[in-house]
Symmetry: C2
Subunit: 219 residues, 2 copies
């Protein structure tokens, strides 16, 4: 599969490299061609390339939004609505407000979510939110953390969610640990969890942790 | 110990009954004396009593805020600032906005929390947030759910948090599963988690579940 990965930070590079390893062709996009995305591609072999956001979105059958969340809608606007139309758009980012002093806050929360903002801005994209509840090393290699920890999927397009579930399985997520939360509005829950994630990280660090759902056994 | 429990709903009754079972004296408070609080006390034996919010707060060496979160500050105002001064105030509620249509939202989130609102309104109370990340049956009997699931504690008063940790241990929480997240502002994380809790509940139900933190083993 051809995948466009928007974002050349740690999350984008980690996902892009894992996709290459699994045999996909990957074009990493950044604000301007060159820079970290081109550097990544230069060292990543023949299935890797780089360009600006539009070039990456055009290339991808699947597009991954892995820029800093506060800039995701801008980045996707540069990527171009037409280049996203009809495609599965996997949003893995959190809308962290990097501007203010004091505790970390989100640019959108509670009554809305970044994933919903993206879906409203690009109504023809098939937005799926997933993987935003953990460190990127855990996203692409869940076996890095022991235990039956889970990944959440939110989206309004059932087939798009199925495609993402398949991708997650290829990353190493067992089907039983991929939790479909329902519609895209449930991303309010997974994005809002970032504040708890940060507090847990401060309390128990390092960042390679994730949550398991403990339940009373059925029956 | 004498405990005042504010709130005669399911959460208040569950906590109050467990406290009685552990040998404490409990006065349950409600908006007006009589009603469900008096009913509960009538069936709960000699260590149980009921009254209005002020009577319960006056009675308690420890006060538990277990009303619906959207009404907690009002209830505590009726309880009386002087009756809370110097006391540990355990806030277990979530600020659910019960008014609107559509998905559940919170009355405060992201940049503030109910726990912080309470602390600002009652600066002499020693507010600790805990237990608000799970069903009340799990709060008071963690063994109801198998696995190493956890409870979070937030607060600015270290001694008050230690007192609550002891209470949690008496409920059955092993020390290693009581996670001190730090200052009271970390309640933004545990309160915001309510939206994810609800989504998980919808996806995997029933409500008797909780989260385990899976980590790479130390060393």
């Amino acid at each position: 599969m051809r995948v466009g990965v928007l974002g050349s930070g740690m999350v984008g590079r980690t996902i892009a490299s894992r996709l290459l390893e699994l045999g996909h062709e990957v074009r990493m996009g950044s604000r301007t061609a060159g820079g970290p995305a081109a550097q990544w591609a230069a060292g990543a072999g023949g299935s890797a390339s780089a360009g600006d956001f539009a070039a990456a979105a055009t290339f991808g059958e699947l597009v991954v939004s892995a820029t800093a969340g506060a800039g995701s809608v801008d980045a996707l606007t540069q990527a171009g609505e037409a280049n996203l139309a009809g495609k599965v758009l996997l949003d893995v980012s959190n809308p962290i407000d990097t501007g203010g002093p004091g505790p970390v806050t989100l640019t959108v929360a509670n009554t809305d979510s970044l994933a919903e903002q993206i879906q409203r801005a690009f109504p023809k994209a098939r937005v799926v939110k997933a993987l935003n509840t953990m460190n990127c090393a855990v996203m692409v290699r869940p076996e890095a953390v022991p235990g039956e920890h889970v990944v959440f999927v939110s989206g309004d397009d059932h087939q798009a969610k199925q495609a993402i579930a398949q991708l997650l399985e290829s990353f190493g997520w067992p089907e039983a640990r991929i939790i479909d939360l329902g519609g895209l509005a449930t991303a309010r829950g997974t994005e809002g969890y970032l504040l708890l994630w940060l507090a847990i990280w401060q309390a128990v660090g390092p960042g390679q942790f994730n949550i398991v759902i403990a339940q009373v056994p059925a029956g």
